[in-house]
């Protein structure tokens, strides 16, 4: 498989000298063609800057970016066959939906009848057939999102960039759009690069993902890989509601003096388990109840399936686990 996008120790610094902000710091990255790639990280971690480096709205301070093998350092955004779905959709308010979608074809000089036919086809693809004559202001947030998607796809880009496209939608709509985006990507076979700070979104949609932290990639891999084997303490913290055990506790449990993680679903309440603590909170999740207990300075969560007896808050209890589920990590 060819690489759609490669970063070769790419940095983007804002400002100069030691005070420079390293938004992206020596990042190496390969995004496979036809994949659904997610960039996950907290705000300010460099994921959006990486996206803007691919679209060309930022230029690297150092390093090389290649799109399908071609160096793009001297190519402005309008000549990159890469399109973006913007976070605020950025629909043109003075044009109707059809003209918005046909914009990319209009600037290429494609005749009106041809570009309108293609625009209507795109609107059908995102289930907005018949909305062509409306103005963006007359659409709901979810509909605007679809128009932005159709507009970005009309040029048949090699790579589609999505900058937190679902952030402004409510939960139900967001879940529908997640499914729809995924199936759209599979149907079209275009490489999707998706920026999000929502770990569930990244894990459920992506074929592979990169977790960003402070301008660097903390870990890159498949969702299952990252979920079950977080490489660092940051990834475990950020990606899942995993228990992060400090070195002292890992050592007390028979491991080396290293940070480790333990999934709540891999633990059970047991009368004489190796970890003892005081129950501080119970959270009912439907199929299970999340029991939080405090041992020393560390808070750990265990999942108790529905129907099992639950401890009272404030009482002592202990949890047991299979030693192979204790996963060792680096600190950073």
């Amino acid at each position: 498989m060819t690489a759609a996008v490669t970063f070769q120790s790419v940095s983007r610094h804002f400002g100069i000298g030691p005070a420079a902000i390293k938004a992206v710091d020596a990042v190496d990255l390969t995004i496979a063609e036809g994949s659904f790639f997610a960039m996950l990280g907290p705000s300010g971690s460099g994921k959006t800057t990486c996206l803007r480096l691919i679209s060309g709205f930022e230029q690297p301070t150092s390093g090389a970016i290649r799109i399908f093998g071609q160096d793009v350092s001297a190519i402005p955004p309008n000549r990159r066959n890469v399109n973006t779905v913007f976070q605020d959709y950025a629909l043109f308010p003075h044009m109707n939906v059809r003209d918005n979608v046909a914009y990319g074809l209009m600037v290429k000089g494609i005749p009106r009848s041809q570009r309108y036919a293609k625009a209507d086809e795109m609107l059908h693809l995102v289930q907005l057939g018949g909305y062509g004559d409306r103005k963006p202001g007359q659409l709901s947030g979810g509909q605007r999102q679809r128009v932005a998607l159709a507009r970005a796809l009309v040029n048949e880009p090699r790579v589609l960039l999505l900058d937190e496209p679902l952030g402004a939608l409510d939960l139900k709509l967001r879940e529908d759009m997640q499914d729809e985006l995924k199936s759209l990507q599979q149907r079209l076979g275009i490489t999707f690069v998706f920026v999000t700070h929502d770990q569930h979104e990244a894990l459920s949609m992506a074929d592979s993902l990169a977790v960003f932290n402070q301008g660097k990639i903390a870990q890159i891999g498949t969702p299952a890989d990252i979920y079950t084997h977080p490489r660092t303490r940051f990834v475990a913290d950020f990606v899942g509601s995993s228990n992060v055990l400090p070195p002292a506790l890992t050592k007390a449990l028979g491991g080396p003096a290293q940070w480790s993680s333990l999934r709540p679903e891999n633990t059970r309440l047991a009368p004489h388990g190796p970890i003892t603590g005081t129950v501080t909170a119970l959270r009912y999740l439907g199929a299970a109840t999340r029991v939080v207990l405090k041992t020393g300075e560390t808070e750990l969560a265990a999942l108790v399936p529905a129907g099992r007896p639950l401890p009272e808050p404030g009482t002592g209890t202990s949890i047991a686990f299979d030693p192979k589920d204790l996963h060792l990590m680096e600190e950073n």
Partner: protein, 312 residues
Amino acid sequence: MTAPAILPERGAADRLTAFFWRRPKAFLALLLTPPLLWLGLVYLGSLATLLWQSFYSIDEFSGMVKPELTLKTYAELMRPANFDIILRTLLMSTAVTLGCAILAFPIAYYAARFAKGRWKAVFYLGIMLPLWSSYLVKVYAWKLILAKEGIVTWATEATHTSGILNALLALPVIGGNSLSTSYIGMFIVFVYVWIPYMILPMQAALERVPTSMLEASQDLGATRAQTFRTVILPLALPGVIAGSIFTFSLTMGDYIIPQIVGNSANFIGMAVYQLQGTAGNTPLAAAFSMVPILIMLVYLTLAKRAGAFDAL
């Protein structure tokens, strides 16, 4: 002790708030009556009187105003000498508006898109500062600058570019003896005094165009020129129109600059001034004052039909 569910009334201000809370319409009436009285009676009323007077005529023998409705005065307005004045004013206003728009756009664009913090303050100060000094002083200063013995002539001589200046002045109609006695000079002074009224609304309009919209255009393959034509200009157009209303109508009605700078050809404002004062021909003065109003109405109708306000 628990706090009371209803807080005690503190006095007249609370009673007034309660009164208006129960009767929101009374509040609206109180708010709007004074300005509506002003606008309706003083402002539009006097304009209506003016319109009315333009249908009066002047008795050619006695020079007295005859208070009978007639279209005679408007026929007089269409006489070649008077029509020339209208045409001249219209052309100058159009040229000044275009000149202001072209010069103002880069300034407004810079201020809206790039100027931050202190530079924004410098921008506003730079635009507003000339407005604080007397209009008359500025116009006289310009007369000196543009005069034959003025700094412009001197500078062109010192830089051996008097050829350019002389070529400009040799142009038919708009040229003249010196800049201060030509239409070119008048144009320069008009653009100078009215340009702030173009920059400010333009800048306000450009500020409302989000950067992501320009990026979206570029992202979809548009060149800079295409982005300007299809995104920036249409979105900034309401601001450009607002600015042009100012520069256009201010030029149409001005009667001081054409008196001080230029070849003393008559303009609408000057004609009104003379007819009203020395000639005592109030009906014709009124008819002349109706011209800019009609032109502006036509202009706005055309602008609306062309979709200039679609982005509002």
